[in-house]
């Protein structure tokens, strides 16, 4: 029960003057139920990578296994795969098209062949989950604000009940509270339903708070892959490729440099506070 990538390479516009290698020999395995963060600076290949996971972008070379089966095999059921691996794109306006919000969210389940009642039930659940207010259910999706559109877009994918949820910068354009709400809901789903979640984000704080494993992309290559503590320990190298560690990493490192006897691997604020306090206790 996993997603396993072996030596994925992807080249955009192969065979033209605009050839661009977006992925270079990327391999990893993500087990069912993991909460994985993908970070990397702009253009490092994150979006390209996650579009491989549901077969939208076929690798130029390499293999991708979902639950043990190579998805590039002849006759593999791609549509079923797309129901299992739900992908929420970076820009939500690319998928909204229906007359009202509820119908739009029904699009995914409808494509899975569910009855209209079942579709609506799923849509309502999904919208509630992302905290979309019920009074706007009958509104045109084009009249919503950016943050609301994003919630509807996420609900549109959640309504398909995917086993793996892939989110490409789901919190861009949301206020801090909206951001926490959505990610808390995703974390809740992850806990309750053993859903695999893959989160692409530019916010190291979000990543540190929610994920159990980080994959760092740099210029199309996998640079680091490990627990947040392991990855953020390389904060100097991360900076060199345009990334950063959570702010508490910097505080702890600065304190340690000044001679305080503390461990520097805490990544959330609570952990860091505990670590500093422990130092005062003894």
């Amino acid at each position: 029960m996993s997603i396993k990538a072996e030596h994925l390479n992807y080249i955009y516009s192969l065979g033209t003057a605009y050839e661009k290698q977006a992925l270079k020999d990327v391999s990893f395995e993500i087990l069912q139920g993991q909460f994985v963060g993908v970070i990397g600076h702009t253009g490092s290949g994150k979006s390209t990578l996650i579009q491989h996971l549901n077969g939208l972008v076929p690798a130029t070379s390499g293999k991708l296994y979902y639950e043990g089966k190579n998805i590039y095999d002849e006759g593999y059921d791609m549509r079923a795969l797309r129901g299992q691996v739900g992908l929420v794109f970076q820009y939500p306006e690319h998928q909204l098209f229906e007359v009202d919000v509820l119908t739009d969210v029904c699009f995914g389940p409808k494509n899975q062949g569910l009855s209209p009642e079942e579709c609506e039930k799923r849509a309502r659940e999904a919208l509630e989950l992302v905290g979309f207010p019920e009074k706007y259910y009958k509104q045109s999706p084009f009249d919503l604000s950016g943050g609301q559109k994003r919630r509807v877009a996420i609900a549109g994918v959640l309504a398909m009940n995917p086993k793996v949820l892939v989110l490409d910068e789901p919190t861009a354009g949301l206020d801090p509270r909206g951001r926490d709400e959505i990610l808390d809901q995703v974390a809740y789903l992850h806990r309750e339903t053993d859903m695999t979640v893959i989160l692409v984000s530019h916010s190291m704080e979000d990543i540190a708070k929610y994920v159990e494993r980080i994959i760092v992309m740099n210029q199309g290559e996998k640079m680091y892959d490990g627990s947040p503590k392991e990855v953020f320990a390389h904060y100097k190298e991360l900076e060199a490729v345009g990334l950063a560690a959570p702010q508490v990493t910097y505080i702890l490192n600065a304190l340690a440099e000044k001679g305080m006897n503390i461990k520097t691997d805490a990544i959330t604020i609570t952990e860091a506070a505990d670590e500093i306090m422990r130092n005062f206790d003894d």
């Binding site: 129901g83 794109f89 998928q95 098209f97 494509n111 398909m160």
Partner: protein, 274 residues
Amino acid sequence: MIRDITIGQYYPAKSILHRLDPRVKIVCTLLFLISLFLQKSVLGYVIAAVFLFGVIRLSRVPFQYIVKGLKPIIMLLMITVLFNLFLTRGGAVLFHKWIFTITELGLSTAVFMAIRLTFLIIGSSLMTFTTTPNSLTDGIEKLLYPLNKIRVPVHEIAMMMSIALRFIPILLEETDKIMKAQIARGADLESGNIIQKAKAMIPILVPLFVSAFRRANDLAMAMESRCYRGGDGRTKMKPLVYKGRDRMAYLVTVVYVIAVFAIGRYVPFHIWIF
């Protein structure tokens, strides 16, 4: 895919051809096309081939890339050749079976037609390979400028052209993204009959139109906030000025055209094809 068609695309490279004034490229391409159609001698075509080959080398566009651009028009080429081959009558009969007859004239017309069309397409795609859409419209605007006197809105036409050209790749990319987003939600774009297929396009066309209108709106707003008011009294930041290399290019092309004509007229060894 639509993206594989290379005719009319720009090929980024550093060459003297890329640096030439767009007007030169437009005019010289026209002269080259005219020279193809007005001369009829074998030697003339040899010269045209040498000229074209030289220009290809100068452009630094890979030869395979140019040949690839010919693929979409192979059908057209074949049909033209076949029609000419069987329907042109004249000279000795080379082949006859049932209703098919190939004459000497038919054969030579077909061969020359194929060469002509190939040269024509290579010649004109060389212009677009080496000229960005923007500078192409700049060149057209400047060339057509005299028409302003008879109240043709030259600047507006050129502006519309460059906006349209600019939007083609943007909209292609947008379509790509929208299709992906809907396929990710299980949209089925391939199977079904014609009506089902047309219905399946709705989830793609609606966001595409919405975004095209939004983009048009944003562009209009951006132009207005920069005080764009049309062509009257407008000057260019980088006016087109002929340089030494541009004059040189004109000279070379004119010499080529004269050579082709002179040979067609005065060198006795040639085949007439009309």
